[in-house]
Subunit: 286 residues, 2 copies
Amino acid sequence: MTKAKGTLIPIGGNEDKGIEDNEMYTLEFIDEGILYHVVKEAGGIDAKIVVIPTASSIPVEVGQSYITAFSKLGCEDITVLDIRSREDSEKQSSIDLIKSCDCVMFSGGDQSKITNKIGGTTIHTILAERYSNEEGFVIAGTSAGAMAMAKRMIAGGSATEAFVKGAVDMYKGLALIPELIIDTHFIQRGRFGRVSEAVAKFPKLIGIGLAEDTGLIIKDGDMQVIGSGMVIIFDPRKLKHNNEKILEEGTPMSLTNLKVHVLANGDRFNIKKKKVQVLPVEAPFI
Amino acid sequence: MTKAKGTLIPIGGNEDKGIEDNEMYTLEFIDEGILYHVVKEAGGIDAKIVVIPTASSIPVEVGQSYITAFSKLGCEDITVLDIRSREDSEKQSSIDLIKSCDCVMFSGGDQSKITNKIGGTTIHTILAERYSNEEGFVIAGTSAGAMAMAKRMIAGGSATEAFVKGAVDMYKGLALIPELIIDTHFIQRGRFGRVSEAVAKFPKLIGIGLAEDTGLIIKDGDMQVIGSGMVIIFDPRKLKHNNEKILEEGTPMSLTNLKVHVLANGDRFNIKKKKVQVLPVEAPFI
């Protein structure tokens, strides 16, 4: 387990790649509960927040929507860092912003855009170092922005009835939390097979399926569920049968003895101990 | 485990309740692979087949489509038993048909119609007795027709992001295979939470999620996957945490240590032993 003092907040999202209305709508949706946690973890409404709408196909509109959403919560120091190329990630102004902020928020869209334009650049290095070393530094991301936090990133692959080898595309993510494979919109888009294939490929990692309007606050390997939906944890470490390695692409796969936890608001999972701690029934919604 | 000499074939379906085009389309879809197995298990093309379209909102059209589909496979003795009331289930002509046929095929639609119009009637009793005592007697069902085979039947409850108590409605099914809770259209309709709640309610039962164009051949507790998609087995017997009993309706639920198997064409699961047997990689598609 990589040591880290900072905070990660991956969120299950509610937007579609390139569908403008939905991308806008998301913000309204997230606004209600989840962004409040992001602000709180970053130190409150005085936090300096940087929004990176790089994944989006409409970065200007999405950036503006996040300004509106964070403003509603009382935040005043919100900057949109509209990175559209690797060169943008090397600009001194970008570096200065990432060095000085309290919180970075990655929007939804296409996660490959995040890794292509930011992965391996100077701001990626700074983000990783600050997350590793600085308590209270927050990296949040919704949908694509959440998926990009993994080292083994789900880059594509749609919901299919069959669980066949090769249905999921895996690329290198930002590797902020290499122990996890993160998927989003888990229920609405029927992504059970996709996460199953991902953990079959990397059976030492933990698969996370985030429902919409649902997120995790991750601090030093401890994660807690926020929002209204469920989080599905796929623990493949005790798989008895996993034929992923030997099958040809397109062949139906089988997996047996996958351990699954279904968690709700307030529940915790410890990545180091691989243990669940469930919120007492009488506890209030967080 | 109830002893049974007959054969059950639940199928994941591909139709919608009351949407005519889809209900028709289903048959074309199932036709290709799954119905072939139904006919084979019933003894081949000379089998006497009875189609029960009771679940459907367009029983006449659906019945006709099944006649067409079974005819294409070479079957000649196909009768539609269009039961629309409990009285229909007590008619001598209905009883004679159910007593004399080799195979009953329940269509998709609304599973409550099956239990309301057939559950507890004379033909239900005959079906259960013949399934229990007669080798080679086949009861197949797609979608609603598959779900009705359970004792604890999922009657309703849509895909939701949250896993909250009370989201799934459970009623009494035909109880042909009381050890299972069966759900269909598992992937396409995001029914992960619904099956999870069902097994949380009945943690001694096994939950089955059937993808579309996918089915099971069940004989004396041994089930084998047929079709192109996946079958998800939910084994809740070793749940460490299950707060279903103590929560109020509408409260988010948590479940930990759910054992899950993802099976593909040819794989087997033994209900008595609760063990999986996976098809060797080199085996052909069945």
